[in-house]
């Protein structure tokens, strides 16, 4: 451990030594990877998001780590202790419960640092492999400085119905770099839920979160993935989520963005294998002056690949959202089917939402469609509900919940569904 908190600025001197010093317990190959990633971070231009100017935010001056001990909010620890649960407080493992069942010994479910040391033969070939394609400055930052995260490996032919739940607790440290690596071999199936939470939603010093998720889904394998972001408003969050799909693989994304003052996300699914399928649902809820700039991309490389991108948002206060759906159909992805749909409900005339569908199509024999709409709550609907005796405020809540219900209720993962609902209700009442 260092004696003084390093900042990005200070790390430009003697970078190698600093990284080595800070991660002295890591294996050499990982330290080398971190150093390379850090150089990559320094030399990769910041994300160009037209509607989200990032240049003035001065991330360089943020200290990355402080020496304060981790501090856990009680709520997540007192949550039901299911099997297949990992709770991380910064880099510390607070709870690790292995999955139940007969197949458990062949499955690897542990924190990423432990995995890098004890299962390096499985971790090393995959770590950073998929994410590098995304070419994200903030993923490079995460690759250099990730403190901990989760590693899940499901061997060939193993199907596990019970979800693996991972709680990533932001602790009292300005830098928060959780990383998830999920590897599903052929013919396997698993469900993973990443939850990102802060001890308090409203207070504390400014912090920077670079969240990375990478998934490899083998042939005929299915990954049902859920992510709920509820970080404090003083956090600038950058999320990079990347998945590689092999032949007839299936990926379901259920992503909820509720927290952070600023969130910039980049989710990319590579449909490499023939007949692979990507179902992406993003629910976002902005309030106060939150700014969510979310980009979801399907890259169709294999033939007969299918993707469906849905974005559904509610905007309150002076919040701002940009939802960009990118359908990128490469030559050779014949017979592919790509759809996008975005709907935003505006609860305030000071909020703003942009939906930007983008279709890049190099193949002729494909189907591609997109639809987007945004509008205020229907005054007639409020009147109709109040005419039955429901107060106007409650009528608006019903309409907001009803707007999101078709997508949230379709989330197969019970735990994600319930957590998304409670996150929505918190925001509605805010």
């Amino acid at each position: 451990m260092t004696t003084s908190p390093p900042s990005l600025e200070s790390l430009q001197q003697n970078d190698r030594d600093r990284v080595r010093e800070h991660f002295s317990e890591d294996p050499d190959w990982l330290i080398e990877q971190r150093i390379n990633a850090f150089f990559e971070y320094l030399h990769t231009p910041i994300l160009a998001r037209k509607r989200t100017p990032l240049n003035h935010r001065q991330f360089e001056n943020l200290p990355l780590f402080t020496q304060q001990p981790p501090e856990l909010g009680g709520s997540w620890l007192s949550a039901e202790m299911s099997d297949g649960l990992l709770v991380l407080a910064g880099s510390e493992v607070a709870v690790l419960r292995p999955p139940a069942g007969r197949t458990a010994e062949r499955v690897i479910f542990t924190d990423l640092r432990t995995a890098a040391m004890t299962h390096f033969e499985v971790v090393k070939p995959y770590l950073a492999r998929v994410a590098r394609a995304a070419n994200s400055k903030f993923d490079a930052l995460n690759r250099a400085w990730w403190q901990n995260g989760v590693f899940l490996f499901i061997p060939r032919g193993v199907q596990i119905a019970e979800p693996f739940t991972v709680v990533h607790h932001q602790v009292a440290s300005p830098g928060f770099f959780p990383r998830s690596l999920i590897v599903l071999e052929d013919d396997s199936e698993a469900t993973v839920i990443d939850l990102y939470v802060s001890p308090s939603l409203k207070s504390g010093p400014r912090s920077l979160a670079a969240i990375s998720v990478e998934a490899v889904v083998g042939a005929n394998a299915s990954l049902h993935y859920g992510s709920i972001e509820q970080l404090a408003l003083n956090t600038d969050a950058f999320a990079t989520r990347t998945a590689d799909l092999e032949t007839h693989a299936r990926m379901d994304w259920n992503v909820g963005s509720f927290g952070s003052g600023l969130e910039v996300s980049q989710q990319t699914t590579y449909l490499n294998g023939t007949g692979s399928e990507n179902n992406s649902l993003t629910v976002f809820f902005g309030s106060r002056s939150q700014h969510h700039d979310l980009e979801v991309t399907s890259v169709h490389q294999g033939a007969h690949t299918r993707s469906n991108i849905i974005g559904k948002g509610v905007m309150k206060g002076r919040s701002r959202s940009i939802f960009t759906g990118v359908t990128d159909i490469k030559q050779g992805a014949r017979g592919s089917d790509a759809r996008q749909k975005e709907q935003t409900l505006m609860l305030s005339d000071q909020a703003r939402a942009d939906a930007i569908p983008s279709l890049l199509i190099e193949e002729n024999d494909v189907f591609a469609a997109h639809a987007a709409s945004a509008g205020p709550v229907d005054a007639n609907a409020i009147y109709y509900l109040t005419s039955r005796g429901v107060a106007p405020e409650e009528a608006e809540q019903l309409i907001v919940e009803g707007f999101l219900a078709p997508v949230i209720d379709a989330i197969a993962l019970t735990e994600v569904r319930q957590r998304v609902w409670s996150a929505v209700r918190e925001k509605v009442r805010e």
Binding site: D378, Y383, L385, T386, S387, R388, G389, A391, E394, A405
Partner: protein, 262 residues
Amino acid sequence: MAMPVLAISDLHVTVDGKEILKGVTLTIRGNEIHAIMGPNGAGKTSLAQTLMGHPGYTVTQGSVTLDGVDLLALRTHQRAQAGLFLAMQYPSEISGVTTANFLRTAINARRGDGSAISLKDFRDRLDHAMDLLSMDHKFANRYLNEGFSGGEKKRNEILQMLMLAPRIAVLDEIDSGLDIDAVRIVAQGLTSMVNDSFGALVITHYQRILTYLKPGFVHIMVDGRIVKSGDYHLAETLDAQGYDFLRPQSEHEPEQAAAGRL
């Protein structure tokens, strides 16, 4: 419980500055069914929406009380809680909110804190009401009016009325778009409620539903005024002769017509 009384007196209403209701006086009590008939644009729907407090309608003169309470001083949800119900001509579609969940919310809103209806009582009442209206029980779990046919929406309005048990119900063209069997079922639903603690005002274009309801009072509205009132036979006369038989009378005796005492 005392018999409900909805008293409308000399009601004048404007929409976008234009006078739509020009002095309507009408009293509806428990155990009474009143029907209002009249040509398009006469102000029938405006009367219904004004009673419920639609924000598009401005009362410029007159009063409306329910059991002595000034309805015009109340907001829409408070009017409903006071016991008024409006079955709307064009019910809104509410995506994502099931009929069952909404009805429980609405019933509990009227009951107030601490006296919420039990799930079992609610289900029993809902099943009973749906059977009465020959509705498939699956409707309760569908999103409120979303994708419903015209007839299904109307039946759903009656279902809500049965469940909310108002003191006075106003039904705006509940029969339009319904086939003959559905009209009979809706009429049965309404008739089943009429007693000393319930009265209804039925707005319709057609005599058909009235043959089932046999209202004790029929009023004819033309150009924002009730121009003629009578018993059920007035509806039969209207059906046989059309609105033409009213024209000379309403033109020659506007003052008398406006008072609604014909």
